[in-house]
């Protein structure tokens, strides 16, 4: 495999590193998602909207959907996903702490939204039916988390080994960002114009 016309071994090594970072991002998200799912909080209203704006975005999406304003739905979804992706990537600059917090928060609150909707009467099968068609946006979010951790590793390499990033690192990051842009745009399109109908 020789992408970007670079040395095959270096490229393979870096892509392997990126895939480990991607897998770590997925694990962090999934652990927090499962953790929230497993918490029995039936005695208390969680009222998570007080501390997180994801449910406010969700309310806006529902309002726009009820007025059949699909362009607004698309804009709301894509702008929210872009924010998540930007924080995930830039979080890498803080040695991955920002990425970790954002992924953990995203997984936790995503599960919280599911639990709240289920508590208000929607069956699990219906929730899966509505969310599954566009759920591949999560790949974009995990990949952005992966890039965040990858950037953190590059920083640690600079600090500890005095090893500065080369063209392979930059090309891998740019390639991944382009892939993320494609994934979140197509997912938002499907969510706004296809599955939400």
């Amino acid at each position: 495999m020789n992408i970007f016309n670079l040395k095959e071994t270096d490229c393979k090594k870096q892509l392997k590193l990126l895939s480990i970072c991607f897998f770590s991002a997925f694990i962090i998200w999934a652990v927090l998602f499962i953790l929230r799912m497993s918490i029995d909080d039936s005695q208390h209203e969680t009222n998570i909207s007080k501390i997180d704006n994801s449910t406010n975005v969700l309310t806006d999406v529902f309002k726009a959907h009820s007025t059949e304003n699909h362009n607004k739905v698309f804009y709301l979804i894509i702008s929210n996903n872009i924010k998540v992706v930007i924080i995930n990537i830039l979080g890498g600059v803080f040695l991955g702490l920002g990425t970790f917090v954002n992924l953990a928060q995203n997984g936790f609150f995503a599960a919280d939204v599911f639990c709240t909707v289920h508590k208000r009467g929607m069956s699990w099968s219906k929730i899966i039916e509505y969310t599954a068609p566009h759920s591949f946006e999560m790949i974009g979010i995990w990949l952005s988390g992966g890039i965040g951790f990858y950037i953190a590793l590059l920083f640690i390499n600079m600090m500890v080994k005095n090893k500065y990033p080369n063209s392979i690192n930059f090309k891998i990051i740019i390639g991944s960002i382009v892939s993320i842009a494609l994934i979140i745009t197509s997912s938002a399109y499907i969510e706004a114009y296809v599955s939400i109908k």
């Binding site: 924010k83 930007i86 803080f94």
Partner: protein, 190 residues
């Protein structure tokens, strides 16, 4: 030369200890403010979820203090090297960790001052902007943090063997850039 030798002698656990004290005091300070405001607003919730979030926040604030220290030190190191300085990052990071003792003392004073403030039941936002003690607290935090950066200037000058102007630039350029980037992000993105 003297500073180089001293840097190597500085035990790592001293630096880590100071950073730990600083991060714990920072957490305690922000936690006290948050708790006071929540008790007035009646928003204290003892559900399992909030307990998880509180524990998570504790570890994140402690870790963030360490991350900010390392990253800011690395930025100053890069700019010092770019401006012609020569030194090891691991030596510089020891010194930059030691100067966090000043913001740590600042947080202790602020905690004592904040405990003597009676928060009103309404218009907390206005109270925070107008109360003399709270304004003083803000100034103490700003000055103690600023002192930390000012103290780094002579450290950079002697450790990296560059002149005063370049040492000031090694601190001012990254800090100014971060400030401008912050303004850009807050206005146009978030």
């Amino acid at each position: 030369m003297i500073l180089n030798i001293e840097a190597k002698k500085t035990p790592v656990f001293w630096v880590l200890g100071i950073m730990l004290i600083y991060s714990l005091l920072m957490y305690e300070y922000f936690n006290t403010i948050g708790r006071e405001i929540s008790s007035i607003n009646g928003k204290i919730v003892n559900s399992t979820i909030y307990q998880y979030i509180a524990t998570f926040n504790f570890f994140i604030i402690i870790l963030s203090a360490f991350v900010v220290w390392i990253i800011s030190s690395f930025l100053f190191h890069i700019f010092s090297v770019l401006l012609g300085g020569v030194a090891e990052f691991k030596d510089f990071v020891k010194y930059s960790g030691l100067v966090y003792i000043f913001p740590a003392i600042g947080f202790v004073i602020c905690l004592f001052l904040f405990n003597s403030v009676e928060l009103p039941k309404t218009n907390i936002d206005v109270f925070f902007k107008t109360n003399t003690k709270l304004i003083t607290i803000n100034w103490i935090i700003t000055i103690s943090s600023f002192m930390c950066f000012v103290l780094l200037i002579p450290i950079i000058k002697y450790l990296y063997k560059i002149n005063w102007l370049k040492a000031i630039g090694a601190i001012a350029i990254p800090l100014g850039s971060i400030f401008l980037l912050g303004q850009l992000f807050s206005k146009f993105i978030f």
